[in-house]
Every structure is written in C-alpha cells, then in structure tokens.
Chain length 596, copies 2
C-alpha cells in the first residue's frame, strides 16, 4: 500500500469511484451476512469500510482479526451507500469504502473503556487512561476549539503590533501572594528558584525595556489547595502595554474578544461591553463576577426595614450590617417549607445565620416573619421588590459581606435550578472601581486586593495611609457568564508611589528592597506609564466549549491533590538527586517514603 | 495634551504641516543657540524634537530639565528640516517636530550605561540592568525578529492542520538523560515533580490520543553545567505527527524553513536540503553538524599512509585508528612554524597527540615529516589531497574519534580565521543514519544516542542485542551553518520493541515499569506509528539575527552559573517555606546560607 493518505471523515459522495488510502483506529467492527463492517476513525472523523469475500478473501480474513482500537491501514474504492443504508447523522453517511486490502499497524488490548462520545466512567479512570479519553470526539473538539481560540487571540494581537515574548520560568520567590512552587538550585547551595505565579514583574520590566506592546500565552503556577476550578499549573493570555489609558486597554480587549467570538463561535459580539462598579456588582448580584444572563437581583432593603421593630432585621442594620432580598418571581407555589429549609441550609454554608422569607398570597405577605412586618414596612418592601401575587421573597440580614456572599450564591443556585439561564448567551461585563486593599481580619493587616503593583486612583493616593479600605484601584476585571475571565490594571510607575504601597502593606524598607529592590531600582531609570490585563485561557476554553469541568480543557490535568494519574507525578526521587540539591527530607517525609 | 499618539519613528515628509502627539524616551538632548534639540525614542525609532523660545518659553523651560532616558510627552508640528540639516542615516531625518508643549511622565537617574547601538560594557552590567540593555536598537530588532520567526512557524503549522497543544511543566522525573530540575511536592510528602527536559513522552502520548498533528513552542529545562551556548531553560519548536514517514516529516520541515526564511529574511531557500549520512559527515567534516559554507574538508588518507614506514601514521592505522588531513589551499606561506605550533596546541585540547604538516614548495613536500614519506606515499597524498604549489597540509593520526574531533574543530577555526565563511549564506543540511546507541567507556554501557524511544532501522533490529554499536536509528538532525538546529526521529510504537530497547539499555523489567510503565501500557492500546522533530528556537533566532551569543536572543537569560543577575534568582527562601515542603537543607547548604 502506498500513495497519498486521505482522511476518513472527509470522504463524500463527490469521491465516489475514487481509490482511497486510509489510516486510523477501529471504532467499531460488525459482522453481517458474511461481510465485515469497520467504522474507521482518524482525527477528521469516521467512515464505514466494508470487507467483502468476493472482493478480497485475504482482506476479509485480516479484517476478521481486528478489534476495537486496533490501528489499521486500508485501501479501497469509495462507493455510494444504498438509499436504505444512508446514515444522515454521519458526515460520511452517504458513502462507504469497499476494501481491497488491509494491514494491521498496531494491535490493542481490550481498552478499559471505549472512546465513545457519551462516556459514563469515573473521572479517575479517564485520567489514568487519558490517551483513550482524549480519543473521544467531544475531547477532540474541545482541543480543536482551544487551538482555534489561541490562534485567534494571537492573530489579533499580532495584527495590533504586539510582540510575543517569553519570560523566565525559573524566577525569584516573592512570598507576597499565593504559595510558590520552588525549585532547588544545585549550583547555589540552599537557594531556590520559584516558578512564576504570573509574569507580572517581568512584563512590567518589558515595558521598562521599551517594548511597549507585549503578550505571551504564559504558563503560571500556584501551589494552593485546589478547588474544582483550579489547577496547579494554568495558562493565561498575558498582555502589557505602555502609554495606554485604562479605556484604551479595555477597548483593545473588547476588540480581541469580538474577534475570538467571531472566529470560534461565529457570533457578532456587541461592544462596548457593559461596565459595573465593584460596589454595584456586590450590591445587585452579591458577587464581584456577576452572571448577568438572568435577573433574580439582590435588593438592599436596609433603609425600608430599619424602621421595623423586627429584631432580626433591625438588629442587623443597627450593628452596621444590612438586609437584602431576592424576589423569586411567581415561584411561591413551587417552594414548600421543606424546600425553603434546604435553601436555609445552603446559605448557612456562607455563614448566614438564617434565611427569612415571605410569600405574596392573595394580596397578603405570608410566612413565619410576616407578622413582624409593620404595614408601612410591608408596603416599602412591596415597592422596593416590586412584589406581585405568587412571588417568593428571600431575605438575609447579617454582616454585609455575609449578606452578599450568601444571597449571591443563592441567586446563582436558583438561577441554575429554575432554568433561568440562557446557555447560548455570552454576557461579557467589566467590573471596575475595585478596592486597592483588602483587610485580613485574622492577620489584622491590609493586603493588596490585586497585587502590590496596582495603581491607585490618583485622587485616592492621599487616603492610602489613613483610609486604605477607602482607596480605589485603577483596576478592571473582565467577567463572562459569572466567571472571572481575567483582570488587569494600570501599574505604579513612580518609585515614590511604589515605596508608599509597600509601606502600607507593612513592608519595612529593607524587606521591600530585599524582595523587590530590582523593580524599585528599575522605576528610577525612565519607567513609562504602563498597564495590562491577563485572561485565563483554560477557563475561557471551558466556557466557549460549553463545558463545566476545567480538567476537560487541559490536555494532561492534575487531580485535586495535584497528582497526574497517568504518569504518577509527583514521585520519589533518588538519594543521589537529593544530595546534588543539598537537601534532606524531614523525618515525616522520610517515613512517608518508607511506607510507599 | 490629548488625542491619538503617533509613533516617533514613523514620521515622514508626508506628515509636514500636521500636528503630532508623541510619547517616549529622551535618547539625547543638545542645547544649541538658545534652542533645545531632543532625540525622542519609542519602539518605532527616533525623531528630532525642537524647542524654540519663540514658540513656547514654557516648553523650553521644561525641556531644559529633561535628561537622558526621561519619559516625556510632546505635542507639536511636523516641519521639513533645512536642506543642510537633513540626516539621511535616520528614517525620520528629513523632518523634525517643532514642540508646542512637553510633559515629563517620569524621570531617570543617570543610567549606568546609555542604551546606544554600539555598547562596550561588561555583560554582567548589561544583565543586571537588562531593561536598559533591551532598550538598545540591536536588542529591539533581535526580539522583533524572534517574534516574526515564531509567528511564521506557527502560521505554517496552523495552515498545515497542526494543533497547538500544551503539555505539563510539573511532570515525573526520569533520570535517563540530562539532569532534571526538581520541584518538591507539598501535598505528597517527600515526592517531587520534574520540569520537562522536553515534551517527548507527552507528545508521544498526544499521538496515542489520536491528534495526529501536534506542535508547541515549548519551554524545556536541563540542570547541566552550562557552556556558552546553553541555558538552563530554553525554547524548542516541538512537533509530532502520526502516520507520516521520515521523508514526509523532513519535507514538512523543509517547507516550514522555506516559509520562515522568506518571511524573516526575504530569502528564497532552495529545497530539498542536502542530506548526508552521519558516517560521511564525521569523515568529511569531523563533525555531526558540519558547516558546509566552506571547504577545508577532511580527507581520510589511512589507506595511502598505511604502506608508509613512518611510525606515527602506520601505528595509528595499525592500532585501529586512522589518519586524516586538511589541505589549506595556497596558504603555506601564511603559516610560520610558530603559527603551526599554535595549531598543534589547539588540537591537543581535543586529545590529539600532535599535528603533522607538510608544505608543497617548488614541487616538493617540505616539513619535519617530509623525509619519512616514501615517494609513492607522497604521490598518493598528492592525489588524494589534490596538492598544488603553496598548499599547507595538516595531519592528525590517532584514534578515529580523536582524529574527527580535533581536525573538525581545527577546520572550523581555520575557516573562521581565514575568512572562508560567507556570513550571508544559510546552509541547511540533514544528517541521517545516526547510530542508535552510544557507548560510554567510563560506565562501560550503552546509552541511547538520542533518547530511548527512537525507532531503529527495521533491518537492524536483530543487531540491537549483539551489536548495539552497529544499530542505526531512524533519526535525522537538521543542521544550519554548523549549528545543530534540531533533531527528530520516528519513535518506537510497538510494546515488544520498546521492551527490548530498555533491556539493551540495561533496565530491569521492574525499573522500566517503574519509570515508564504508563508509556509501555499506552503502547498496548492502539499506538499509531509516529515521529517528529524539535528545533531550538533560541539558537535559530541567534543565527537569523546574525548574533553569536545565545543570551542576546533570550529576554531575561541566566549566566553560566544559572543566575539571573537582574532579579538575583535563585535566592534564599524562608524556614516556613522549606517546612511546608518537608525539606531541610543539608549541613553544607545551611552553612552557605549562614554566610550569605
């Protein structure tokens, strides 16, 4: 067999009468009336190959030996299927290949699962046999989409005069932020590199190097306890520019997203994207990344209920907290007391003390707390929440942060469960006017809400020392369908301001110099005004592919305990390797290795 | 100042009369006759800005304050320069900008060196102030070229239906090969990840996953003692395909190179590239990566001289070694005895015992060994080496590996020093028919010459166990101007053959399973025939940019001791960080840290 190989999935009626030469995997084999039918799969799709004893008994005999996932090579003629045998669900369903010859290129044991579209096996098994899992059509499509999105982003940025540049992976550990992955140095005894949590400092240095427009599809690392939507290594589209304003960066990002949505989903995305201030997002959606595909908005009724004598409401407001509510429109009859009890359990996860509720029934608010609501309070709620017959109103009265988080999460849950979300929609949203600092109650200190290089609003600089909590950042997050797609900011480019930032964050002068001295020095040699954005490519792919598991968008992902089930990384290393790195395991680790 | 910003380097005579708004760095400031002239630099180039008291005394006063590398913003009118003031060496040399206003965006201290084209400072200083070094025009151009080459490669591969895919950075350590960089695991006590030396195994798994055509511009890591042309982290264009033959992969690579040379250098590269077997390359060039831009080829004269009674020659051949020579055409008179003594010292670096020589003078071979050469031997040499009047012939008689290495290196040195190399040429060459194994004399065992997954020639499989040194690999290296640009091979896709390979390499069954069990298992579930290639992007950029220092092609490179002089990585980490990773420094490392 020789000559140019064709792709199985591309054979059409126009090829009828042609000789073809195919290579691929046996998706399925059926024996029927002395014939053998093989669905032959390659990266382009599947075509049916028929072995007929009248054509070649030798080929039939070989075909009889093949099993699922064997790798074969076939030559034959393209013929039209009989009208009754046409399969309209298959792109190649109007044709089949009458085989003249077949070779077995490689065998396969019976696989632990068949690589079919609808697979129902434990994810652990899929990860262990990732190469079988990835043969499945939905996985192939996801990684083709990821490729397409990646190239679309690159093409946009290349056309916009950005330079793709590579920053180091073996960098310096900077404990501010998430936990670093460390890499011991063999040459410098006792020293370590750190894998980058992001190319943040390097991209700023690139701006100080005069390149003005940089991007990188960059691998980043965080050694954190993993939630379902986190991976120890992840990929971000990393962008930095000099001399551009916040609006110019946001506009550039919108044009990029417009191009990707057109290239990948053939959707004309309307721009500019809506913008919402952080405070408003928290107030209306209880979230800094609101999913605006559905309503169920939070309404702050503190002003209405503070006049009430109902202790739960009044108390929350008087102690500095607030009361917000969601109106679940017309769904009162769908929620039994038991259902609402479950919702109450749900909000308690977020530290809410409880969930109050009323239903509007025949012009009357009903429910356990209804009797505590004075007439004018009830009237105020009716107006604020636009209550109509059959509405269910859910309240949380608590510390404001708890009100937002619990009701915000409840809103998401109800939106999903009540089917309020249009899955075909892609709602982009900018969240702006972020706080510069976040207060950590346990440690009783302020941390950088984004990172310590974020530029404060110019008019807030005076507040940094005395009212850090009131200082706003020149930062912007891009939200898509309730996911944080990415975030960016203008950066500090003045040495004095960066010094002040470290001071507010509690760095001594020496600590700042020790950790970031090179950056502080670089700021003194003509650092241009600069800013940028970083977008999570794994998550973006997940949303574009309509998937919900981040691991389905990463080729060889890790589990929640940061293990690779396929290769069994991480793993033990030899004594000699440790010795070369000047390291010893501590007692506990030694014990653990002994017991392996 | 507001409105659209123009780029300094793009202003031309066609813009005369227009108002422009510029941002950038002060390259140079001159005061002349009450006026101030500033060369304003941005990523596009430089334009001259003039401050005139008659136009704005305020702007002049501000301009008087700026120094080199200040970041400024300027608005003004484009005017044509007087004929006498035109600078034809500058793209913007026919115009200048008469400034109406200027703002200082950021100041600069007097930099340790000026970012000018021709810089003569220690490389350490350039690396410490990398952001200043990178502002220099030659560096800007190198990274623009790197970007262009990268996109050209991507565009070719995208057009050829390859998918760009990302393989993990936190992988499993496999001690076969170079030394791994290790990453301690916090979750799995005493276990480590390894940073990939290449995505080799993962790209093979991608083929087993049915993707057929993969590429990645991949970061790779090797913890080796560094030579001038090595970096601890480097970038390779990593390509793998299923079902393609060796010739198809080489052809695809040639088409890719053709595209890059056209896109980046506007050169029409002739294809197919010449091919040379490994044995021939060693014999004719003394190198497995011959620079074919010049002659000075090695000629094996063992057969001629073995008849001689001259002990040095005869002895080398009789003890299994060989005698080769280079004819330095017409240069006899340019080499004094002293010069040749220096060449002798040079070949001794490569363990050669000496360098014999003769000169052809007035029809006679002259020199210390001439008297030992019988007439018929002299005649044989004349014929083999095409000796003419004025030629200098240099011989090495030794173990064949020493002959090749020493004369091959001498050839390179002479080619450079005699100016025989046409620097404008790009000579691509395939080196094929590589040995599958290399013998390590110290360890008395065979190692994989490329890696343990390389497919042997089918007809050599029987030799693997008994004559490993005679087994050829289905491997090919791409050589450009004497540099190894990259290499590839077909891979083993049959379980039994891979088992045999590990056996020859001295792995016990258990060791093979422990290290590569997942790969051996994957081979049993329908692994397709596959192969690929990997090309060094840093080195390719270096050659394309006409540079000789690999560090000039990497944005933030490391020194020979794997340090980043800018950020001071690697560095000490805290006790707490070590504790979280279940590690302790050994005594020596502790001592070293104490003394820092």
């Amino acid at each position: 067999m020789s000559g140019h190989r064709q792709l199985s999935g591309q054979i059409r009626e126009t090829h009828v009468g042609e000789k073809v030469h195919l290579k691929g995997w046996v998706q399925k084999r059926r024996d029927l009336g002395g014939l053998i039918f093989i669905d032959l799969r390659d990266r382009s799709g599947v075509v049916q190959v028929v072995f007929n004893p009248e054509r070649s008994s030798e080929a039939l005999a070989t075909a009889d030996k093949v099993r699922s996932e064997y790798v074969i090579e076939v030559a034959g003629d393209v013929v039209a299927r009989d009208e009754g045998a046409v399969n309209e669900n298959l792109a190649t369903g109007r044709v089949e290949v009458m085989a003249d010859s077949i070779s077995i290129l490689n065998k396969s044991k019976n696989p632990p699962f068949q690589p079919q579209d609808d697979l129902d096996v434990a994810e652990e098994l899929r990860l262990k046999y990732r190469y079988l899992d990835l043969r499945r059509n939905p996985m192939q499509e996801t990684f083709k989409l990821r490729h397409k999105a990646t190239q679309s982003i690159r093409n946009f940025l290349n056309d916009d005069d950005f330079l793709e540049m590579e920053t180091p992976m073996l960098t310096k550990s900077t404990p501010e932020g998430a936990r670093d992955y460390l890499v011991p140095s063999r040459v410098h005894e006792g020293d370590f590199y750190a894998l980058p949590q992001s190319p943040q400092i390097f991209k700023q240095l690139i701006m100080m190097s005069g390149f003005e427009k940089y991007y990188q599809i960059a691998r980043c690392f965080r050694d954190e306890d993993l939630r379902a939507d986190r991976q120890p290594e992840f990929t971000q589209v990393d962008i930095e520019t000099s001399f551009m304003s916040k609006d110019e960066i946001m506009d550039m990002t919108e044009r990029m997203m417009k191009r990707v949505m057109k290239d990948v989903k053939d959707i004309e995305l309307p721009t500019p994207f809506p913008r919402m201030k952080y405070d408003e997002a928290m107030e209306r959606y209880g979230s800094d990344k609101p999913d605006t595909r559905f309503g169920l908005e939070l309404v702050n009724v503190s002003d209405v209920v503070k006049a009430s004598e109902f202790k739960v409401f009044k108390g929350a407001v008087e102690s500095g907290g607030s009361v917000s509510a969601i109106n679940v429109k017309g769904k009162a009859s769908e929620f039994s007391r038991k259902d609402i009890d479950k919702l109450t359990e749900f909000v308690k996860i977020y530290d809410a003390k409880g969930l109050a509720w009323v239903k509007e029934n025949e012009g009357e608010l009903q429910g356990p707390i209804a009797k505590f609501l004075e007439d004018e309070v009830a009237a105020g709620l009716r107006e604020a929440l636009e209550i109509e017959e059959g509405d269910l109103i859910l309240f949380v009265a608590d510390k404001t942060s708890v009100v937002h988080e619990s009701l915000g999460s409840l809103r998401q849950k109800l939106g999903r469960e009540l089917g309020l979300i249009d899955e075909s929609q892609f709602n982009f949203l900018w969240v702006t006017d972020w706080p510069l600092f976040e207060y950590d109650e346990d440690l009783d200190r302020y941390f950088a809400a984004h990172h310590p290089f974020t530029m404060p609003e110019r008019e807030d600089i005076d507040k940094m020392s005395d009212q850090p909590g009131e200082t706003k950042a020149q930062a912007y997050d891009l939200v898509l369908n309730g996911y944080e797609l990415g975030g960016g900011s203008l950066r500090i480019y003045e040495k004095e301001l960066q010094d002040k930032m470290f001071e507010v964050l509690g760095f001594s002068e020496e600590e700042a110099k020790d950790q970031f001295g090179f950056l502080l020095e670089a700021l003194e040699y003509g650092a241009p005004p600069h800013g940028g954005i970083a977008l999570g490519l794994d998550r973006f792919t997940m949303i574009l592919a309509g998937r919900t598991n981040l691991r389905d968008t990463i080729l060889f992902p890790k589990t929640a305990s940061a293990s690779d089930l396929l290769t069994q990384a991480p793993d033990s290393v030899s004594e000699e390797q440790l010795k070369e790195l000047h390291l010893e395991l501590n007692e506990k680790a030694k014990e653990n290795q002994k017991n392996k």
